[in-house]
């Protein structure tokens, strides 16, 4: 057999092969960014822990039953009204703030609530307690959590705009970019301490 002279390899189909691979990777690539509602769990209490006595008026009770209905402070409520009600409770400012390590916070000077004596004393005393049934749907539970966090972020935003002229989200973002900036850190902490996020999960009901 005569050996033919080696002709140039036809590279015309190279593009086709590359396209095929390209399409494969295009299809398999998922560019999802994981995101979620962040929460910090409380530490496990010691055996002999006695829970402090908290005044009834400083607790905002949210109950979710197994049919995903909401009971807020003993009344039925739609999930869309939860944010407003929670905001009114947190921002009430009807009394003195808590005394933390000898530092008296005094009455809430930045609150714009009704200052009713039957609602919370101060944002740093206001506790939101969420109790759900074991059979509650997770989607509803998370929606309630989301609404409550939203209530806090609206209040924080408002205070941040009032004090520093920018929204809290922007403030936090600029702090994240520049972690060594002590001035920004102080501002962020100030807002966070003014409206601390106190959402507790009560022991679930089951039947």
């Amino acid at each position: 057999m005569a050996r033919r002279e080696n002709p140039e390899i036809n590279a015309g189909s190279m593009a086709d092969i590359a396209f095929l691979l390209l399409i494969f990777f295009l299809v398999t690539t998922t560019m999802n960014v994981d995101s979620g509602v962040s929460k910090k769990l409380s530490e496990k209490p010691p055996e002999d822990y006695v829970p402090p006595i908290i005044k009834e008026k400083n607790i905002f009770e949210v109950n979710i039953n197994r049919n995903n209905d909401l009971l807020v402070e003993g009344e039925r409520m739609d999930i869309k009204d939860l944010k407003i009600t929670a905001m009114a409770f947190i921002d009430n400012g009807g009394g003195e703030g808590k005394i933390d390590e000898g530092v008296v916070t005094g009455p809430c000077t930045y609150c714009q609530g009704e200052r009713s004596i039957s609602s919370s004393d101060h944002p740093n005393k206001a506790i939101i307690s969420v109790q759900s049934d074991r059979g509650t749907e997770y989607g509803t539970y998370l929606k309630v959590q989301d609404e409550l966090i939203k209530a806090y972020s609206v209040l924080r935003d408002r205070l941040s705009k009032q004090r520093y002229g920018i929204s809290f989200v922007e403030l936090e973002e600029s702090y994240k970019e520049d972690r060594n900036n002590l001035e920004l850190k102080k501002k962020v902490e100030d807002i966070k301490n003014s409206y601390p996020e106190i959402i507790s999960d009560a022991e679930p009901t089951s039947n």
Binding site: F25, T28, D34, G36, K40, Y138, G139, L142
Partner: protein, 145 residues
Amino acid sequence: MPAVNTASLPDIVFMLLFFFMVTTTMRETDLKLENPKLPSATEVQKLEHKSLVSTIYVGKSKDPARHGVGFNRIQLNDKIATAADVPAFIINSRSKVSEAEVPFMTTSIKADKESNVGTIIDIRLKLRDANALKISYSASKAVDN
């Protein structure tokens, strides 16, 4: 009109190809559960540092004959497990990172919106026992109202 020169077409395509090859991350664990339909929320935060995140899946099993129906199956790594296995899972994932980074570890709970709160609370109690206090309820970003 002369034909357009397509000689550089493979180069362009290869460049795109390399881009996608590099960015593709193959899923490390294969899901024994149906892909959970995540609830949506507006107050979501991005999870940073993927290597410090351990994920717990909760949802419906792909194989109901073996694991039963219902939305409350828990998957750790690539096995269906119970809440009692959570501490071991956390300790195992802790051993993979350096000690200094342990406090920054986050547990992401990817639960189907139809699963029950009871399951989530069981997991949460176990996480508290294991002292893994930073958690993130995985949710998709919803548009505000």
